[in-house]
């Protein structure tokens, strides 16, 4: 960055210079604490992802917290109904900034096959979603890829909203 020339004591072995945002992003993306909002069969795949076979801890996101105050990533895995949507909204508000949301599976993203009166047709109508993981349910590899996409957003390789679904014009 050129600082080495200005401050001679920074030059040499044992030092490197970078931006503070990059350091914070690097720390955040490798220590995600997910909140598992598991309401249906996608939660089973999420548990599988966290277990040793797929081992989400390789990417630093194994510390599942059941308190929204302690987490920074909500994984909405499963159907969200009329009665559950206010709960999810409240949990979203209780998570401290910065926070990210993964909408896992067809039901959370679009309502899936449940086009019925109590089923929310996509949680992105009521909370902001960063990454959608498709599948019914998605395989653990898909969820891992979703977490890696979140990491790209965190350390600035991707813009927020880059992985959201394209809007379809109603005709």
């Amino acid at each position: 960055m050129g600082l080495e020339q200005l401050i001679p004591s920074l030059a040499g072995e044992g030092f490197f210079t970078t931006q503070i945002n990059k350091v914070i992003g690097w720390a955040r993306k490798n220590s995600l604490w997910p909140y598992p909002f598991g309401t249906a069969c996608c939660a089973i795949e999420m548990m599988s992802t966290l277990n040793s076979r797929y081992d989400l801890s390789r990417f630093g996101a194994e510390v599942i917290r059941f308190s929204p105050r302690q987490s920074d990533l909500i994984i909405v895995s499963g159907r969200v109904t009329l009665k559950m949507m206010p709960v999810l909204s409240q949990i979203y508000q209780q998570v401290g900034e910065p926070k990210w949301v993964i909408s896992m599976g067809a039901c959370a993203s679009t309502g899936g096959v449940f086009n019925t009166y109590p089923q929310i047709q996509g949680v992105d109508q009521f909370i902001p979603v960063d990454v959608y993981v498709p599948g019914c349910p998605p395989r653990p590899e898909s969820l891992i890829d979703g977490v890696l996409k979140i990491q790209q957003i965190i350390d600035g390789q991707a813009e927020r909203g880059e992985f959201t679904r394209p809007t379809v014009e109603a005709n």
């Binding site: 009329l82 009665k83 949507m85 206010p86 999810l88 909204s89 979203y92 508000q93 086009n115 019925t116 009166y117 109590p118 089923q119 929310i120 047709q121 109508q125 009521f126 909370i127 902001p128």
Partner: protein
């Protein structure tokens, strides 16, 4: 293709055809004559449909019938399996006086037999006396029937919704309620806008 007649509507098989090719379950081997004497004057008909015994009764007698079924030592139907309802609105022979059919299913644990009670209630006043005084467990099941069909159980200790939220305005299993609802599912405030 134009002169082809539309296919004739296939009627469901009558219970007679079922009588011939289905085995009677042990739980359905109910003595109708015994029921007829025990419940004399309190039912309109006792029939066997799909090899299952159905007692047809009415609002005024349904609790008396349940009491006899439960407390008579020779009948001994001590367990209530289920209470449910049917909305008859889409039937060809629909009669507003018989909009809903409330069904009680009772089981005798000692005699291993099961009978069903059918009670018609009207569209204008969908009310039926509660069975919670006879079977304690009926109170919970009746709440669910109220939640889904809006059938009110008179004398129920705590008739509230059980599955849907309290603010819900409609009874969702009625045939005139659309499957996708009336916009309740789209009616939330976006979380980031609340603050």
């Amino acid at each position: 293709m134009s002169d082809e007649q539309p296919p004739e509507k296939k009627l469901p098989p009558t219970h007679d055809s079922h009588e011939t090719n289905q085995r009677v379950l042990e739980e359905n081997q109910v003595d109708h004559d015994q029921l007829r004497t025990k419940l004399a004057g309190k039912f309109s008909d006792i029939v066997s449909e799909y090899k299952q015994t159905i007692i047809k009764t009415d609002r005024d007698n349904v609790i008396d019938v349940l009491e006899i079924l439960k407390n008579d030592p020779e009948l001994d139907f001590k367990m209530i399996t289920d209470i449910t309802a049917v909305d008859n609105m889409r039937r060809a022979d629909f009669d507003p006086e018989k909009r809903f059919t409330v069904i009680h299913i009772v089981y005798s644990v000692t005699r291993k037999q099961r009978v069903r009670l059918e009670t018609d209630v009207s569209e204008a006043s969908p009310r039926i006396p509660t069975a919670a005084g006879v079977y304690k467990g009926a109170a919970w099941i009746e709440r669910e029937v109220y939640d889904m069909f809006g059938v009110e159980f008179e004398g129920h200790p705590d008739l509230r919704r059980v599955l849907l939220p309290d603010y819900y305005e409609h009874f969702v299993l009625r045939k005139d309620y659309p499957l996708t609802g009336r916009g309740e599912r789209d009616n939330f405030i976006r979380a980031e806008e609340v603050e």
